[in-house]
């Protein structure tokens, strides 16, 4: 257990096992990732797509996960549901899901990382406990069945209802996500839908079982802003009514500002900074977060001047830089430190964490963060597991 983490977790044990801290900002932890590692074993080498991710997802709250293309957001999400395809595999870490106990009763904690992929147990988690909206809708919609039949099937797997009732529910859900004339379109095939309509079908399907956690991977990339606003409203309303937790993966910082309670910034398979949304936007700590926020084009921006992008290119996940993975592109790079020590997580507050040596962590000076605690260098996999 790292010193920084201990402060963040107020007690040492993973929050899900400790039952969360009732009344603490954000409420009870529903899913908690501890040291999650998912690697792909390819001919060219091992791709460490997810390489030690710690996250907590709370009931009734939205966690937005952002980060550069290829940094491991989707694979993190897929790992939670054990949907990583070969040659990939969860190689380490824990995925703790708290089941039941929402109404005060004792819940149980299941480690999803320990369940057999494709097994019965993980399948019973999918849909009802955790539903997922995939980044590319056509990967999960069947081409040969009508949207209605696919929805009816999904609804009936988890709810004890007849075909008629399930179909009525499907039409109602399609209406909720603003599909025009849902009574007609329920009998259409996915190819007859536009890109954004398919995305909304996925959203409707995911919502059909009132999941405890909704994982939404870039669910609004094809939606115009008015439809997007309506979908965000819908998700927030359902969240208020049902206490649903949402893990929302997006690269759109406008959407993050609108939706998130908490934000996690990922870079090359690691969470480099996390905290409440307001802190992340108004007091970003990690140089990567800062660069990310600076490169948002604002509306009303002068046209055709060259856009800023973060200098350099994303390093190869099969060939990661030593020390801080961001050091090859960082404006605040400190030679001799950043390329030598892997920055451990440093707690900057109860819900605020950063992995950057500017805030300490290698015993060197930490001018940026006087209150940051120094912690041991990168722990071995075993010690990152907590007690």
């Amino acid at each position: 257990m790292r010193a920084g983490e201990r402060a963040a977790e107020a007690g040492g044990a993973p929050a899900a096992q400790a039952g969360g801290a009732p009344g603490a900002p954000g409420g009870e932890v529903l899913v908690e990732l501890r040291g999650l590692k998912t690697h792909f074993f390819t001919d060219e080498g091992t791709v460490r797509a997810v390489d030690g991710v710690d996250l907590e997802i709370r009931r009734g709250r939205t966690l937005c996960v952002v980060g550069e293309s290829g940094c491991g957001k989707s694979i993190t999400a897929r790992s939670i549901l054990q949907l990583v395809e070969a040659p990939g595999r969860v190689v380490d870490g824990r995925i703790l899901l708290r089941r039941g106990g929402a109404d005060g009763g004792p819940g149980e904690v299941v480690d999803l990382a320990g369940l057999k992929p494709g097994g019965k147990e993980i399948r019973s988690v999918r849909g009802k406990d955790i539903a997922m909206i995939f980044q590319e809708p056509m990967t999960s919609l069947s081409l040969v069945h009508t949207v209605g039949n696919q929805m009816v099937e999904a609804i009936r797997v988890h709810n004890d209802v007849g075909k008629r009732e399930a179909r009525e529910r499907a039409v109602e859900l399609l209406g909720m996500v603003n599909i025009p004339n849902p009574g007609r379109l329920v009998d259409s095939y996915p190819f007859q839908f536009s890109g954004g309509m398919r995305q909304r079908v996925m959203i409707a399907m995911a919502l059909s079982c009132d999941p405890g956690l909704l994982i939404a991977d870039e669910p609004t990339t094809a939606l115009d802003v008015t439809t997007q606003a309506q979908i965000m409203e819908l998700l927030k309303r359902l969240q208020r009514e049902l206490g649903m937790a949402i893990m929302f993966i997006t690269h759109d910082m406008g959407v993050v500002a609108e939706m998130a309670d908490d934000v996690a910034i990922m870079y090359l398979g690691k969470v480099v900074e996390k905290g409440p949304v307001d802190d992340i936007f108004h007091d970003p700590k990690h140089p990567y977060t800062r660069a990310l926020l600076e490169s948002i084009p604002k509306i009303g921006h002068r046209r055709r001047e060259r856009l800023r992008s973060i200098k350099g290119i994303v390093p190869d996940p099969a060939n990661r830089p030593a020390g801080c993975v961001f050091h090859t592109r960082c404006d605040a790079f400190m030679p001799g430190r950043c390329d030598a020590t892997v920055p451990p997580p440093v707690a900057l507050g109860p819900d605020r964490q950063v992995r950057c040596l500017l805030y300490g962590g290698d015993g060197g000076p930490a001018p940026g963060a006087p209150d940051a605690q120094t912690a041991a260098p990168e722990p071995t996999p075993e010690s990152s597991h907590g007690d």
Partner: protein, 357 residues
């Protein structure tokens, strides 16, 4: 440079009779794409989805024309009609060939069609569906180069590697299959494939929608560099109004199969002339959590109309906050409301609509 060719519309496309403008690369006149709705065991046609319903647009050589509008309004259908990936139900699409001839796109002979397919490329909205899972990146990006330019072996690999680098992907991975990439990485494969042949017109359908800000900037810079170098023309379909503002010379706003506003970018953003454009601009999420829940956003109420059964009169009237009885009775044509600006609203001149500053 594209911006120099951007001048107010001087002629009405499809207005009939006028000599075609030399600068126009592609022109659509009254283009319609309808899909039959079939029902029952005998698959009887019971109606038509009017996905694209009378679109007049002209795209000038070297410009970037933005196309925005509600999900399902017909943007992809129009783009695929331009590509000839879909036959049109009515109207006409004309293209200025590199030798100066004006071609009717639905009636191309085999040679012209081959040339057209090489010169007009599309970046598809759903990269997963448009990249063949059985081919490696080398094959996907290299095949059109091999066929059209006769390159092979290491020369071909060199070209593919260069293209991959331009879109921020590692050439080392050119022997991997599309499924082994992230969503944004796949999207860039699709961009590389479309740009590999030095096309003249690129229909980019939500081409940067899965990219984070940093890589998106890199791609947008690339699109502009290519435009400056090769006088490339783009039809840029996007839901991201900040990207459209940044990249596009002119913007067409589409609603339910029709263009409702067409204007140069700056005036459109500063002072929209159609109530739907106003609603769109108001809904852009601001990248600041402290501005959340402000009252700036115009919420579109009312059901989204079905393109098989559009409302009478103005198709936006069921959700328009300025609608009057006239709007239900009379369809507003897309007409010039100021020099170089067109809008399809009866009250385009009177309404004081809010833009973004």
């Amino acid at each position: 440079m594209a911006t120099e060719t951007t001048r107010p519309e001087e002629h009405a496309p499809g207005g009939g009779g006028e000599a075609p403008d030399e600068r126009v690369l592609l022109e659509t006149e009254g283009v319609r794409v309808h899909f039959p709705i079939r029902k029952g065991f005998r698959q009887k046609v019971v109606g038509q989805v009017k996905a694209v319903d009378g679109v007049d647009l002209s795209i000038r050589a070297g410009e970037t024309l933005g196309l925005v509008g509600e999900s399902g309004c017909g943007k992809t259908t129009l783009g695929s009609a331009v590509m000839r990936a879909r036959e049109i139900t009515g109207g006409r699409i004309r293209f200025r060939a590199s030798d100066g001839r004006l071609l009717d796109v639905s009636r191309l002979g085999p040679d012209d069609l081959r040339a057209y397919r090489r010169e007009v490329r599309m970046i598809f909205q759903d990269p997963h569906a448009s990249l063949n899972p059985r081919f490696t990146l080398l094959e996907i990006i290299g095949e059109p180069i091999r066929v059209n330019e006769g390159l092979s072996g290491s020369a071909l690999e060199e070209r593919v590697a260069a293209m991959l680098r331009k879109v921020g992907l590692r050439p080392e991975y050119m022997r991997r299959y599309p499924h082994a990439f992230s969503g944004g990485e796949r999207q860039r494969v699709s961009i590389a494939r479309a740009l590999a042949l030095d096309p003249r017109l690129v229909v980019a359908d939500e081409a940067v929608s899965a990219l984070d800000v940093s890589i998106r900037s890199q791609i947008l810079n690339l699109l502009q560099d290519l435009q400056d170098e090769l006088n490339l023309t783009y039809l840029f379909i996007s839901h991201d109004l900040s990207v459209v503002e940044y990249l596009c010379d002119r913007v067409a706003v589409m609603y339910l199969g029709k263009i409702v506003e067409l204007s140069e970018t700056e005036p459109l953003y500063a002072a929209p002339r159609h109530p739907y454009t106003e609603a769109l601009l108001s809904a852009v999420p601001k990248p600041d959590p402290r501005l959340r829940g402000g009252e700036r956003r115009i919420v579109l109420t009312g059901d989204v109309p079905d393109p098989s059964d559009p409302p009478s009169g103005c198709s936006f009237r069921t959700r328009c906050r300025y609608a009057t009885e006239r709007c239900a009775a009379e369809e507003p044509p897309l007409r010039e409301v100021a020099p170089g600006r067109r809008a399809a609203c009866h009250y385009a001149e009177e309404l004081e609509l809010n833009g973004v500053v």
